[in-house]
């Protein structure tokens, strides 16, 4: 059922109007309950980050289901997609045996035990949880057996094949030491009294778990070279950033230098932090930023993953372009991505070709952490619009979106199987909005990857697509790197006929496909 048409008028803000048809989203009414993360007006830092979402197909029935994290005695909830060609969700939390009532924050999706069904790793303030998915009929708490119950303040987490052995290892981001009984004193920001932290608080170290392959994981943080000075980590992205076929880890730290842990390829597995050396530790001016959201795409078309990060208000988001020689250059200004974010505080972001015009657009959700925030007091309001930036040549141009929210999390995927990317957005302690993509488009060409049994979604794989017209594009199979969130590994959608598909699987294996099915849907199975 459609509640209201939300969008979209192409607005320029003085910019040239996009040349293609507009992107159109409609908000769809669903039975998804609002998220809970503390008081409506937060007074403590533990409340401000909100909670995450996971979009995944838990029962392998071909549509995308939704997991909603809640940070309180209100349980985390799993919703089954029952819509078919429409969009509708029903709460199946109890039926699936899920009972997480903790101060939960984030969620990662991955097939931890290689049984073909996606499992959930839930980060909490306090012990994290691994919920194993038994054939889409129930979830079981396997935290203790797996040995992944880290008890820091977990924010985001990611699955990825860090050691190239085929199974999914786990990176857990930890923020800081927070004691509910001794919260930090209030602080000042732009002359206003605001909730305290993270300044003056003690950061916690991140944890890296190796998947042993027998249902257990091992803490390899130190032995693999991830042990650094603890930082206020909010997000991470696992991908081959250096182009050597090995999975690396970009780590986003709040107000501290980001890390880029580069996989050295040595045996035993070892990573080296090249954050400063590569240029991603700070923005181009050398300033440390907040780094809540991480978006990855080949923005400049050189076949390498570029890194976009969202940041605090009165700062700008940052686009680090990967120059394919181990370095990243801050080219935020040149793509028009700087000034427009100065009054916004950004969280989850994602690059997707929403209008199927051949290039990836950018969606960013925003909302201030301080309830006192107004334009007058902090040059940034508490409720903020999401940013939809349409790619137009070498620029990103703002498309007007209606409404202002306290958004934190977002997940992206084709909810109604109509061949375009829809969006689900969660506010901090607020409504979960389902935005159906109603953009007009032709039936797309679709590529889906199916990895081997240990990593059936092919998380971390790279796709180089050559079209019939000779042009190329590069995409990656990731969970989207949403803040405290995890999207389904994508259906890759294209607007023109495909000639050749080259896949680099996360273990480095390469595969080329030249026989493209006439129906335009190409499912590529990883060769044994």
């Amino acid at each position: 059922m459609k509640r209201l048409f939300v969008f979209l008028v192409i607005a320029g803000c003085g910019q040239e109007l996009p040349h293609e048809s507009s992107i159109l989203f409609s908000e769809v009414e669903t039975a998804i309950a609002p998220t809970v993360c503390g008081a409506d007006n937060p007074t403590q830092i533990i409340e401000v980050n909100g909670t995450g979402l996971a979009l995944f197909d838990f029962d392998n029935d071909g549509d995308l289901d939704l997991f909603v994290v809640n940070a309180s005695s209100e349980p985390c909830r799993l919703y089954e997609n029952i819509g078919g060609e429409s969009i509708g969700f029903v709460d199946v939390t109890e039926r699936l045996g899920i009972d997480i009532r903790r101060w939960a924050n984030g969620v990662a999706v991955g097939d931890a035990n290689g049984d073909g069904f996606e499992d959930l790793y839930i980060t909490c303030h306090g012990q994290n949880y691994l919920l194993l998915n038994h054939g889409g009929t129930s979830f079981e708490d396997a935290t203790a057996i797996a040995g992944v119950g880290d008890s820091g303040w977990g924010t985001s987490a990611r699955f990825g094949d860090l050691d190239g052995d085929g199974d999914l290892d786990l990176y857990v981001c930890n923020y800081l030491e927070y004691d509910f009984d001794a919260p930090p004193i209030r602080a000042k920001y732009k002359g206003q009294s605001v909730l305290g932290g993270p300044h003056g608080m003690t950061p916690e170290k991140d944890i890296v778990y190796e998947n042993i392959g027998d249902g257990t994981f091992q803490d390899v943080t130190e032995s693999w070279g991830f042990l650094t000075e603890p930082s206020f980590t909010l997000n991470a992205a696992i991908l081959d950033f250096t182009g050597d076929g090995l999975q690396d880890v970009f780590v986003g730290n709040d107000s501290m230098s980001n890390h880029l842990f580069v996989n050295t390829g040595e045996t035993p597995t070892r990573f080296e932090n090249r954050g400063v050396h590569s240029g991603v530790a700070t923005n181009g001016d050398g300033s440390m930023q907040a780094t809540m959201g991480i978006g990855v795409a080949d923005v400049n078309g050189n076949g390498r993953p570029d890194i976009f990060t969202t940041n605090f208000s009165s700062d700008t988001n940052t686009l680090h372009i990967n120059d394919a020689s181990g370095y990243f250059d801050d080219r935020t200004k040149w793509y028009g991505l700087g000034l427009l974010s100065r009054s916004l505080l950004g969280w989850t972001c994602g690059f997707h070709d929403f209008d199927l015009d051949g290039d990836e657009d950018l969606f960013i959700v925003n909302g201030h952490v301080y309830p006192e925030a107004t334009m007058n007091t902090m040059d940034s309001p508490r409720n903020q619009p999401a940013l939809l930036l349409k790619r137009n040549s070498d620029r990103f141009e703002r498309v007007a979106l209606q409404g202002e929210f306290r958004d934190r999390a977002a997940v992206f995927g084709d909810l109604d199987n109509d061949g375009d990317i829809d969006v689900i957005v969660a506010q901090r302690s607020g409504d979960v909005r389902v935005l159906r993509n109603d953009s007009q488009h032709e039936q797309p060409w679709i590529i889906q990857l199916q990895g081997d049994e240990k990593n059936p979604r092919g998380l971390g794989a790279k796709l180089l697509v050559t079209f019939v017209d000779g042009t190329t594009t590069t995409r990656w199979n990731t969970d989207g790197f949403g803040f405290q969130s995890s999207s389904a590994t994508p259906k890759h959608l294209f607007n023109k006929p495909i000639k050749i598909i080259e896949v680099v699987w996360p273990n480095g294996d390469k595969q080329t496909v030249t026989k493209i099915p006439s129906n335009g849907v190409c499912i590529i199975l990883q060769r044994p």
Binding site: D285, A290, K333, R395
Partner: protein, 258 residues
């Protein structure tokens, strides 16, 4: 629109250099000249703002306005006090009042209005304000510099380059502004793929203003890109030193941008 095209730019450049030469003979910065226009009763408030005592300045400005009325100059100074506090929305509110007040508009208000809009990310409004200011203060380097930044954000490297070159060659630009312009011109050269030229400019910038930590950082990264790692390390170290001198608050474990 300023610098709309190359011909206009060339014509404008010639005119501007002539004007700047005349202005330079006065040995005075446009901002200085404007500040001297402040009525004597507002000098204390102005000094308080510049000394960082913005709260005290606002108390005295309100007292002044009760006595003398809400005229352009005290309203401008109210805006300036918030501008210096990095509260740009509030600053614009007062700058707007200043512009809309009776009597002559204190022209410097447009300059600071431009920067306030810039820091709020409002590039169109920012450009408009700077353009307005430059109509009365032709060639004022800091406003020109800001237009260069806006051109960068607009992806127009050609226009940005032309503007920064004008600022650098301006006889009335002080070394601080020249250094900033050189550093940003270097950014343009990096964008255009000319790293060697960029390195020379970054080096000139930090020589003119060793506190320009952003330029040290960009010098370091650019040196690194061309394989001069030892020099890059030195530049990175200088960046840290400069930042600690200029912005000790940034050295704290964490802070949010204000």
């Amino acid at each position: 629109m300023l610098f709309k095209n190359q011909n206009y730019l060339t014509y404008k450049s010639v005119l501007m250099v002539l004007l700047l030469m005349v202005t330079a003979c006065k040995q005075q910065q446009p901002e200085q000249a404007e500040q001297e226009k402040l009525v004597s009763g507002l000098k204390t408030q102005y000094d308080l703002i510049n000394g960082g005592n913005t709260g005290s300045a606002r108390v005295r400005l309100r007292q002044y306005m009760v006595k003398h009325g809400e005229t352009s100059q005290p309203l401008f100074l109210m805006g300036l006090s918030y501008h210096n506090d990095k509260q740009y929305s509030k600053a614009i509110e007062w700058f707007t009042k200043s512009i809309e007040s009776n009597g002559d508009t204190y022209s410097l208000v447009w300059h600071f209005m431009g920067w306030s809009h810039y820091y709020l990310g409002e590039s169109e409004a920012s450009k408009k304000s700077f353009d307005t200011f430059l109509q009365t203060e032709n060639g004022e380097p800091d406003s020109m510099f800001a237009l260069g930044l806006i051109a960068m954000e607009g992806g127009d490297s050609k226009e940005a380059k032309s503007i920064f070159l004008l600022v650098i060659s301006s006889p009335i630009a002080n070394t601080s502004i020249q250094a900033k312009a050189k550093a940003r011109l270097a950014d343009v050269y990096v964008e255009l793929g000319d790293r060697q030229h960029a390195i020379v400019l970054y080096q000139e910038a930090v020589k003119q203003n060793p506190n320009l930590y952003e330029a040290w950082h960009r010098l370091a990264t650019t040196l690194q890109r061309v394989g001069k790692n030892a020099q890059a390390s030195i530049a990175l170290h200088e960046c840290t030193l400069a930042r600690n001198r200029v912005r000790p608050d940034l050295h704290r474990t964490t802070r949010f941008p204000e």
